[in-house]
Symmetry: C2
């Protein structure tokens, strides 16, 4: 029987199952106990067990076949790399060592397109930070973030080379990043970018534009990043409903 108070039961069971999978206690391709069995084992109703399992199916850890059972899926890269994460978390998930150098940190006025993305009026004061990002001491990306929320000017005081911006926003400012929309395209490094990323002029780069949302579906960040094409891959997972 799982304890009731701190975290929801379906959450606790989900993490227990996730642990069984990642620690290889439950073997790839093999069935896990049925919903009814798990319910009995942990003293939970079938619907609660079901919620735990369905979330892990959506994340790609399990797959189900009606009438057959629930099975452990082959480990996938995307299980680790498709959550909304900060640069720090992303690079650590890739088992590299992240580092950051702040190039610009200032307040600036929103131009037309930025204002539209962040749903503010043009001219609104935004916090702007440009950071050069490193992985294992090699420059990997040049990232420019424009951030808007009430009190965002306090970010000027923060040490963004050693503290994670997303961490600060979530814990100290009450602006948890919950969702993001990204677009990715291929481009060539211009002179300034090539110099900062230490690649040749015209080298391949990934251009990423991200709008990040917090509670109430409110966009608070619009970020433009340039990643070295030879050192960074982007991963994604797609699903389709059956007919």
């Amino acid at each position: 029987m799982l304890k009731a108070s701190p975290l929801p039961r379906y959450y606790q069971l989900r993490e227990i199952i996730r642990e069984k999978i990642t620690s290889n206690q439950w073997i790839e391709g093999e069935p896990i106990p049925s919903e009814r069995e798990l319910g009995e084992q942990y003293g939970l109703s079938r619907m609660t067990v079901r919620q735990s399992i369905m979330e892990l199916v959506k994340e790609g850890f399990l797959y189900r076949e009606q009438g057959r059972g629930t099975f452990v899926a082959r480990p996938k890269i995307t299980q680790q790399l498709t959550r909304l994460t900060s640069f720090t978390e992303d690079i650590q998930a890739r088992e590299q060592r992240p580092a950051t150098k702040v190039l610009i940190k200032e307040m600036c006025e929103a131009d037309g397109s930025t204002a539209a993305q962040l749903r503010v009026r043009p001219g609104q004061l935004l916090f702007r930070v440009q950071r050069l990002r490193f992985a294992n001491d090699a420059p990997l990306a040049l990232e420019t973030s424009l951030i808007n929320f009430i009190g965002c000017e306090k970010l000027l005081e923060e040490d963004l080379e050693h503290d994670s911006l997303y961490q600060l926003l979530e814990t100290k400012y009450g602006v948890p990043p919950l969702e993001a929309e990204q677009e990715i395209e291929a481009g060539l490094a211009h002179e300034d970018e090539a110099g900062k990323l230490k690649i040749i002029l015209g080298g391949p780069v990934l251009l990423i534009r991200r709008t990040t949302y917090t509670e109430r579906n409110q966009p608070f960040e619009f970020a433009t990043s340039i990643y070295r094409g030879d050192k960074y891959r982007f991963y994604s997972r797609l699903t389709r409903e059956r007919a």
Copy 2:
């Protein structure tokens, strides 16, 4: 009261709600009826209504705030462009006109890395098709697919310039594409690719590798695509759990 027989009730209600949103009957930022209200309206229990709503939340059509209600989200590009789709469906969602020219269609033997991806032994006979993909009559991508399933050699007889491969696999061959894992990186066009895509040598391109899975988590396709960097953007949506 929704009818019982053909499709699940939560599915019917989900599509009703989706329609209310896309037709602007329910307004962006405004609350939709509560779970209990919807249940009463359509003769459904609260948990059934909840399932419909939760799926639309995951797709980005709605967002919820505990204690406040469920609200219509601002329309997002990713609502249309992050499902696992065929090239045809993808280009149509972007409101362009797709076309295809088949360059190679043959059976070939799996090399080591392909065999690992598709979980077969090296030397296994695979169906291989290379297609040049067009949007609005301009070349957009060069795509090479390696496909493995029992009877895949029958694909040699198919007209892959006018029929959708995924459509055929799902309806005629019993191999529905259900999930895919992709990796994306930036590169430069080589001579052969530049010629076929009608871009200059060294132009920016997106390199996409996709492994596609069908029932029982079985990989059946490994595809490598080269997209023109100046004409194609890739979209994705990321989410994060709250702390």
